[in-house]
Structures are given as structure tokens and as C-alpha cells.
Amino acid sequence: MAGGAMVKAEEVHKSFGRLEVLRGINLEVQPKEVMCVIGPSGSGKSTFLRCINHLEKIDAGRLYVDGELVGYQQRGNKLYELPDREVCRKRSEIGMVFQRFNLFPHMTALQNVAEAPLHVKGESRAAAEARARKLLERVGLADKVDVYPNQLSGGQQQRVAIARALAMQPKLMLFDEPTSALDPELVGEVLDAMRGLAEDGMTMIVVTHEMGFAREVGDTLVFMDGGVIVESGTPREVLANPRHERTKLFLSKVL
């Protein structure tokens, strides 16, 4: 099976109608590894990320998280779709941070963070809120506990979103262009929060355009284009000496 890898993809394919978005993705992410995924828009980076927590169903190939198939169960030679309850349980072990934050606007920062522990894990209100406070403090928002999202800056909202994902104590964190919707001067505070997370040993897959972050924090860098992985390696290697023409072309535009 998948050995000790946290995420393992084997020939993952995904189409939307006639459009083939993923055309055979193969990769492995080890526990505590930080993998950064770069590539032009439409290359399938976000779709791949969304396949990992089964927000999208893959059409072909195999995708494992922590040694277990995503969305299916294999018995003998047959695949069985997992019931909704199981899909939800597995999603609850994976944190996800979105480009557009997607905080719940009708809840305060604290309520946003405590929501899933309270209602998915069934923790007591006292325990959930105590941990939510700690997490908000950790991302530097101890004073924003009772504030609604629309009174926060983009950077603050994204840090609440990170705290919200962490509240479920995930074994894996997925970041979908977490700084792309932010004003330039707010990018740093979000990247700092992510850097702290990486230092604490969180396994992370980060789809990003922040090459500086990829170089400093990333253990591996993957360049995707046209639904395949064109090139991967350590960030320094790939960024300094790209081997493929497409990588060179892309980096020449973004660096």
C-alpha cells in the first residue's frame, strides 16, 4: 500500500466534462513534509488539492491519505464508495485553507474556530472555546476573538481561517493559494503563521505563487502544468536550475 507517506497519488486523473484537468498525477508527501505546488492558472493545482479531501471525485488512479484510499474502500478487487458519514470523518482530519478565506460571516472569530470541534467532534463548549482562544492567540489575534469577519482585514481573516482549520487538530493541512486574495502588505502575516506551523512539524501542501515562501519553508517544490507534474525537487534546485523548458518559461515570468 502507501507505506509511511501522508499523501500518495498514483496516476490521478480528473475531468470536468470534456476538460481533462488532471492527467496522471504521481507524488508522495511524507509526514512533516512541506510541499509547495506552483504552476500557471488552469494547471490543475487547486483541483488536485480539492481531490485530496474529496471535495472533488477523481476519475481514475488511486489517491491515499495516511495509507487509506480517499473516498473509497477496497474490498478484494472491487472499490466501494464510502458513505457520507465516513467521507465527513476523513475530511475532518484534513485542514483546508481557501484563497477567499470563506469564514462564516454570521459568526465571530471565536465561533468560527470553535464551530467544528463543537458540532463535528462533539466537544464541550468550554473545551472548544478554550482551544479556539489559544489558536487565535497563536495566530496573533487574541484581541479579535469577538469580532465578526467583515471587521477584519484580509490577512486577519485568513489567519482566523488557519486557526479554524487547526481547531480540528488535522494531520494534514491543505493551502489553496492562501495569499492570492490579499493586499501585498498583508501577505507577510499569513506566511508567518504558515511558517510557524511548518516549524511545529505540520504536514502541509501549499499551492502558492509565493516563491520566497516556497524556497524558505518548502521541503519539496512541484511544478504543474497542463494537468501533469512537469518537474519536482527541492525548492532551491527547481527555482535555481529548472530542467524543463516550461518550468524555465514559467519562472522567468514570475520571478
Partner: protein, 326 residues
């Protein structure tokens, strides 16, 4: 001379420039047309008020009469009961309609098709006359004799017939209103909730519906106001609500128009209260969607008084009081 060159900073350094005092544009035609409209309105009111056969003393006499007040109680009870059925069933139907399960979504589609497609008057009348075709109602195991049953006339009283007719019909309309609200919530909200491991029902109840409320509330207030008046249809089932009572009094005293006035005054008064209630309810659900909640009429009035001479508006003192909501 030098002040022009230094630009906006000069105004900060040299204090605020003098406030503009200009002669406002005069709108003479607004005054003229306003007077004309007032004259017409006065003439219309005067015609009715001084109509030779109009007995105003009866209007005042019956306005607080015991029969009418009883009717109002029943009208309010009918409105509340029908709206509760309508809203609860409407939410269930809307969620069913949007479900990926084809059985539930088809049931919901069929329900809405049927109850929206037949007149509510017919539906009330149908429940009222159900006993004609089904003298006994019961629940039991089909094709056996196991179960309980009771006389239809005892189960479906006139009031019950009105509540069923109005409520079940309302549910069809509420279902569409709720569905519109659910659809209006950004899909990213659902995804974020799913990514946290929430089930479909949890996502709907905890995340989507509260946000849909902002879209659902205004038309629901509209429906409630409409329902308050539609309860008058219950008179076909001889339910002694406000209109039926007015009609009964009128048919014995022949003061028909006077009692229509009595009923109308009460309907207007009650709908006015509902309108005010709707305003505050909408304001409550606007939290988190607007930075500053719109002021209540009272706050607006106070602000008007206090800012009559001062230039800058008062800082919003609205949010903290609502921010503590759990």
C-alpha cells in the same frame, strides 16, 4: 498664494476650511403638486366622512366590541398557526428540493406543484368538506384492520380546516422563498464547512440557513402580512375570525360599510405592527453582513436631534451591543 501650492496639507495645518453655506435649490413645483395632492386627498376623505348614510358612531361602537375583539384573537391565532406550518414545512420542502436524493426532491417538487397550483380558497373548502368523502380518518397498516381512527368532523373542525388550508398552501410558497435564500449563499461557505467534516444537514442548518435568512426574511415578512389578511378567507369555513365577525354583525345590523371600515382599521393596525417587527428582525440578521447596522427609527430620531447643529455624525454605538450574541 503659497497655500494653493502646498495642497491638502495646508488645510490640516491651517485648520478646517469654512463650511459651505449656499442657497439651496428651491423646488417650487414640489410645493404646488403637494398642495394639489393634499386637496384631492381631503376631498376624498371628506366625501366618505360626510356621506349621508355613513354612520360613524357605529364604527367607533363596534371597533372595540367584544365580538370584533374575539375575531381579532382568532385572526392572530390563525395567522401564527398557518405561518408556523408554512415556515417549518417550507424549510423542510426547500431542503428536500435541493437534496441530491431524487426521491425527496421529487416529493418536494410535486408538493409545490400541487399546493401552489390550486387556489387557497378551494383548499380551505376542501378540508372543510373532507368529511363528505371520508367520514373517518385514521392511521394504520394498509390493507389490514390494525390502527386507530376518528370521526373526520371531530378531527377537522372549521378552525382546523382553515389552518390546514392556509398553512399547507403557504408551505409551498415558503419552500420557494427558502430555496432562493439557500441558493443565494456563496458556494465557498458550503465547501469550507464540508472541509471541516460537517455533514450535509449540519452544513445546511449551521452555515447555510443562517446566512440565507437575510434573503428569506423580507419576503417572509411579506407573506406574514399577506397571511394576516388571507385568514379572512376562513369565513368560507364559518370560522369566526375578524372578517367573519364583521360580516355577521353587518348582516344583522345592515351597517355593511361601517363594519368593513372596522375590519379594515384593524387589518391596517395589525399589518403596521408586523411591518415594524419585520424591520427589527431584518436588522438582527444583518449582523456580520454589514459593518454598521442600519439605525433603528428611534436611533435615527435621536441622531437627528443631536446632530442638528454638529457636522460629523455620531460614531456607531450599535455593534458592541449585538456583538455579544451567541
Amino acid at each position: 498664494m503659497t497655500e494653493i501650492a502646498s495642497g491638502p496639507s495646508s488645510s490640516r495645518a491651517g485648520g478646517r476650511p469654512e463650511a459651505i453655506k449656499a442657497v439651496p435649490v428651491r423646488h417650487y413645483w414640489r410645493w404646488v403638486s403637494g398642495v394639489i395632492v393634499l386637496l384631492i386627498a381631503f376631498a376624498a376623505v371628506d366625501t366618505v366622512a360626510t356621506a349621508p348614510q355613513m354612520h360613524w358612531q357605529y364604527v367607533w361602537q363596534y371597533l372595540f366590541g367584544a365580538l370584533i375583539l374575539d375575531g381579532i384573537t382568532l385572526t392572530l391565532e390563525l395567522t401564527v398557526a398557518a405561518m408556523v406550518i408554512g415556515i417549518v414545512l417550507g424549510v423542510v420542502l426547500a431542503v428536500m428540493r435541493l437534496s441530491p436524493n431524487p426521491v425527496t426532491s421529487t416529493i418536494s417538487w410535486f408538493y409545490i406543484w400541487f399546493f401552489r397550483g390550486t387556489p387557497v380558497l378551494v383548499q380551505i373548502f376542501f378540508w372543510f368538506n373532507l368529511a363528505i368523502i371520508l367520514p373517518y380518518l385514521g392511521v394504520g397498516i394498509p390493507f389490514t384492520h390494525i390502527g386507530v381512527s376518528a370521526s373526520t368532523n371531530k378531527l377537522i373542525t372549521p378552525v382546523m380546516a382553515a389552518i390546514l388550508g392556509l398553512g399547507l398552501n403557504e408551505a409551498a410558497y415558503m419552500a420557494e422563498i427558502v430555496r432562493a435564500g439557500i441558493i443565494s449563499v456563496e458556494h465557498g461557505q458550503t465547501e469550507a464547512a464540508q472541509a471541516l467534516g460537517m455533514t450535509r444537514l449540519q452544513v445546511t442548518r449551521r452555515i447555510v440557513l443562517p446566512q440565507a435568512m437575510r434573503v428569506i426574511l423580507p419576503p417572509t415578512g411579506n407573506e406574514t402580512i399577506s397571511m394576516l389578511k388571507t385568514t379572512s378567507l376562513a369565513f368560507v369555513a364559518s370560522v369566526p375570525e375578524l372578517f367573519t365577525r364583521a360580516d355577521q354583525i353587518a348582516s344583522s345590523t345592515f351597517e355593511v360599510v361601517e363594519l368593513l371600515f372596522v375590519a379594515s382599521i384593524w387589518y391596517l393596525f395589525l399589518t403596521s405592527i408586523l411591518t415594524a417587527g419585520q424591520y427589527y428582525l431584518e436588522r438582527y440578521f444583518a449582523r456580520g453582513a454589514q459593518r454598521e447596522l442600519p439605525p433603528t427609527p428611534l436611533q435615527r430620531f435621536r441622531r437627528l436631534l443631536f446632530t442638528w447643529h454638529a457636522a460629523p455624525p455620531l460614531p456607531p454605538d450599535v455593534m458592541p451591543s449585538l456583538g455579544e450574541h451567541r
